[in-house]
C-alpha cells in the first residue's frame, strides 16, 4: 500500500494482508516453528476433533455414470447425454443442444421431475467455440431429488425453449436472453424482461463492464447516436454539483467536508 495511490484498494484481491510490523521477520521465524509443532500435534488430535474443527474438505467432481437416472437417460438418448458428473451431491448432466427439450420432457413425464426450479445462464469466454451455457434445475417431488442439466451454446445459436414442457420456463428464459443474449426458439415472447427494450448489450456476459456501456443510446436517439451512449470506464457520467465551499474544485471526492 503506497501513499502515492489514492489509498483506495483494489477489490479483486481480498486476501487479508498481514499487518506490516517491524518485527515481522522475527515473528515469522517463531511462527514457523510453532506451526510445525502444532501441525504434528494437530494430526494426532485430528481423529478426536469434531468435523467443524477440522480443515474443510473441499468437494470434488466425480463421474456419475452409475446413477440409475443417468443410466436410463443414456439408454434413451444415448450420445446426447454428453457427460454425467456429481459435485457435493448434486447431479449434473450435460446434454446436447438439439435434444434438450426431449430430455426435459422425458424427465418431467417419465421420471417425475415435475418442478422446474430454475433456468439460468453462464458465460465462459475461455471456452471455444461454445462460450455460453444454459443451466436447468429440476426437482422431483417423489424422489426428493434435484437434477441439473447443462447445455453448451455458442453465440447466436438458438436453444429450444422449454415453454411447451414447463409453462414456468417463460420468464427465466426471457431473463437468460436478457442477461446473456441466448435466444430460445419457439418461445412465445422472446423479449427483454428486466432491462428495458432499448438496452444495448447483455450485462452478465463477462466482457460487460460493471459501469455499463452505452445504455442510453437506443432509447434516447435524440441525445445519442446509435451505439454512442455514455462510455464505459468514465463512471456514471454524473458529477456532483460543485460544493459552495471555496478552494475545493472537485466536490464530493475529497474528505475536507465541513460541518456546519
Amino acid at each position: 500500500m503506497s501513499d502515492s495511490e489514492n489509498g483506495k484498494p483494489e477489490n479483486g484481491t481480498p486476501e487479508p494482508e498481514e499487518p506490516q510490523t517491524e518485527a515481522k521477520a522475527a515473528a515469522d521465524e517463531a511462527k514457523a516453528k510453532a506451526a510445525a509443532a502444532a501441525k504434528a500435534k494437530a494430526q494426532q488430535d485430528d481423529a478426536e476433533k469434531e468435523p467443524w474443527e477440522k480443515d474443510p474438505v473441499v468437494p470434488e467432481l466425480a463421474e456419475a455414470d452409475g446413477d440409475p437416472l443417468v443410466k436410463e437417460l443414456v439408454s434413451e438418448y444415448g450420445e446426447s447425454i454428453q457427460s454425467a458428473q456429481s459435485f457435493a451431491g448434486d447431479l449434473v448432466l450435460e446434454v446436447g443442444l438439439s435434444d434438450i427439450r426431449d430430455v426435459c420432457r422425458s424427465l418431467k413425464e417419465r421420471h417425475g421431475y415435475t418442478l422446474l426450479v430454475d433456468i439460468c445462464g453462464a458465460h465462459f469466454p475461455q471456452r471455444e467455440p461454445e462460450q455460453l451455457e444454459v443451466i436447468y434445475i429440476f426437482y422431483s417431488l417423489e424422489q426428493n431429488r434435484r437434477v441439473r442439466l447443462k447445455v453448451r451454446v455458442s453465440e447466436g445459436v438458438e436453444v429450444p425453449s422449454l415453454t411447451p414442457v414447463y409453462a414456468g420456463a417463460n420468464w427465466p428464459e426471457r431473463e437468460v436472453y436478457d442477461m446473456f443474449g441466448i435466444r430460445f426458439s419457439q418461445h412465445p415472447d422472446m423479449t427483454r424482461i428486466l432491462l428495458w427494450e432499448g438496452f444495448n448489450g447483455h450485462p452478465l456476459l463477462k466482457e460487460f463492464p460493471l459501469e455499463g456501456i452505452d445504455t442510453g443510446a437506443a432509447i434516447y436517439p435524440e441525445y445519442y447516436e446509435e451505439s454512442a451512449g455514455p462510455v464505459a470506464g468514465t463512471g456514471t457520467g454524473w458529477k456532483p454539483p460543485a460544493p459552495p465551499a471555496p478552494g475545493e474544485p472537485d466536490g464530493g471526492d475529497a474528505g475536507e467536508s465541513e460541518t456546519p
Binding site: 467443524w52 473441499v58 468437494p59 460487460f208
Partner: protein
C-alpha cells in the same frame, strides 16, 4: 332474414359496441407492493388479460456477486428480499458452505434456524398487513407491525441491524447470542400465538374477508407445479412440500413441526397456510431455544475462502416466500464465477395472469397480495 342468435359477449358487442379498455396498473400503485406493472385488458371491471412487466428495481445483483469475494456478498443478499434478509443470507452462505465443504458447528446451526424462523414470522406479518390493507381492512396492518417491531428488536439486539441483517457468514455465525436474548425471544414466541389469534379474530371468520378470498385466485396444483410456484402458495394448493422437511438443512431435522397444507387452492387457503406457519415458526423457535447447544459458532475455515477450481452447487432453503436458492459456480478464485439467485417471488408472480384472468380488479388486488411478492427480489 337471418336467424342468427348472438350469444355472450358477441351479443353485447353488436348491440352496444362494447370495447375492451386497456388499464395500466402500476408501477406506481398502492396495491402492487412496489414497482410491479400490469398491462391489463378489462371489460368493465372484469380482467380479460393481464401482462406483468417487471424490472423497475433491477440492480444487477448477480453481476455484483461476480465482482465480490464470497464473504462480501452477504450484505448484497440482504437487499434482494429485503423483508426476509435472514433466509436470503442463509441460502447464500449455505451454498458457499456446500461449495467449500465447510461444516457448521451445531450452535451456529441452531442460531441460524432461530433467525430464519423469526424472519419467517416477520415476513409473514408484513404480508398479512399488506394483504389485509389491500382487501380494505386497515387495522391488522398496525397490529402486525406492533409484533413485527418486536422481532426486529430481537434482530437488532442480535446483529445490530433491523432489516438488512447481514447476520450470517460462510462457516458459521459472526456473533454469539447476547446475554438475555434467548429469554427475550422465548417471551416473544410465548406471547405470539395469542396475537395470531387476534389477527385471525379480525379476519378468519369475517364474512367479508371470506367472500373476498374464498374461491379467488384459484391455483390448481398442476398449474402451480408447472409454473415452478413454491412455498406457501404451493402448500395452499394442496401439495405438501417444504424444503425444511424434504431436504432438512441447519437444525430442522432436530425440531418437530408441521407443514400446514390446505387444499382449496384459493386465496383464503393460502392465508390459512401462512397463519398456521407463523404459529409453527414460533414453536420451532421455542424448541431451538430449549435445545440450544453450547460450543463454537464458527467452523475452522481458511482465511481466504477460495472456491475449488471446478465445481458448482445449488443450495436452496425454504424462505418465507418459497424456495430461495443460490447456484454458484466456482473457478478457483475467491469470487464466485457465476452466482445465480433463484428468486421465489419471480416464479410466484409469473403465475399471476393465470390466477387473475376472468376475475375482477378487486380480485387482482387480493391475488397480488396473496402471492406475497417483494419486487426487490423479483428484479434483483
Amino acid at each position: 332474414m337471418t336467424d342468427e342468435i348472438l350469444t355472450g359477449a358477441d351479443q353485447y358487442e353488436t348491440l352496444f359496441g362494447v370495447e375492451e379498455m386497456e388499464l395500466n396498473f402500476g408501477p406506481q400503485h398502492p396495491a402492487t407492493h412496489g414497482v410491479l406493472r400490469l398491462k391489463m385488458k378489462i371489460d368493465g371491471e372484469r380482467i380479460v388479460d393481464c401482462y406483468p412487466i417487471i424490472g423497475y428495481l433491477h440492480r444487477g445483483t448477480e453481476k455484483l456477486f461476480e465482482l465480490h469475494p464470497f464473504f462480501q456478498n452477504v450484505p448484497h443478499t440482504d437487499r434482494m428480499d429485503y423483508v426476509a434478509a435472514a433466509t436470503n443470507n442463509l441460502a447464500y452462505v449455505g451454498a458457499v458452505e456446500k461449495l467449500l465443504g465447510l461444516v457448521v458447528p451445531p450452535r451456529a446451526r441452531y442460531i441460524r434456524t432461530i433467525l430464519s424462523e423469526l424472519q419467517r414470522i416477520s415476513s409473514h406479518l408484513l404480508w398479512l398487513a399488506t394483504h389485509a390493507i389491500d382487501i380494505g381492512a386497515m387495522t391488522p396492518f398496525f397490529y402486525t407491525f406492533r409484533e413485527r417491531e418486536l422481532v426486529l428488536d430481537l434482530f437488532e439486539e442480535y446483529c445490530g441491524a433491523r432489516l438488512t441483517l447481514n447476520c450470517m457468514r460462510p462457516g458459521g455465525q459472526p456473533y454469539d447470542l447476547t446475554v438475555g436474548w434467548a429469554e427475550k425471544s422465548a417471551a416473544f414466541v410465548d406471547s405470539f400465538p395469542a396475537k395470531v389469534d387476534e389477527y385471525e379474530g379480525l379476519l378468519t371468520e369475517n364474512r367479508i374477508w371470506k367472500k373476498r378470498t374464498i374461491g379467488i385466485g384459484m391455483l390448481p396444483p398442476e398449474v402451480a407445479l408447472e409454473y415452478g410456484v413454491t412455498g406457501p402458495m404451493l402448500r395452499g394448493s394442496g401439495i405438501q412440500w417444504d424444503i425444511r422437511k424434504a431436504m432438512p438443512y441447519e437444525a430442522y431435522d432436530e425440531v418437530e413441526f408441521e407443514v400446514p397444507v390446505f387444499t382449496n387452492c384459493d386465496t383464503y387457503d393460502r392465508y390459512l397456510v401462512r397463519m398456521e406457519e407463523m404459529r409453527q415458526s414460533a414453536s420451532i423457535v421455542k424448541q431451538c431455544l430449549d435445545k440450544l447447544p453450547e460450543g463454537p459458532i464458527m467452523a475452522k475455515r481458511p482465511r481466504v475462502l477460495k472456491a475449488p477450481k471446478e465445481g458448482e452447487v445449488y443450495h436452496s432453503v425454504e424462505g418465507p416466500k418459497g424456495e430461495i436458492g443460490f447456484y454458484i459456480v466456482g473457478d478457483g478464485t475467491a469470487n464466485p464465477y457465476r452466482c445465480r439467485v433463484r428468486p421465489p417471488s419471480l416464479y410466484n408472480i409469473q403465475v399471476l395472469p393465470e390466477m387473475v384472468r376472468g376475475g375482477l380488479i378487486a380480485d387482482l388486488v387480493a391475488v397480488i397480495g396473496t402471492t406475497d411478492i417483494v419486487l426487490g427480489e423479483v428484479d434483483r
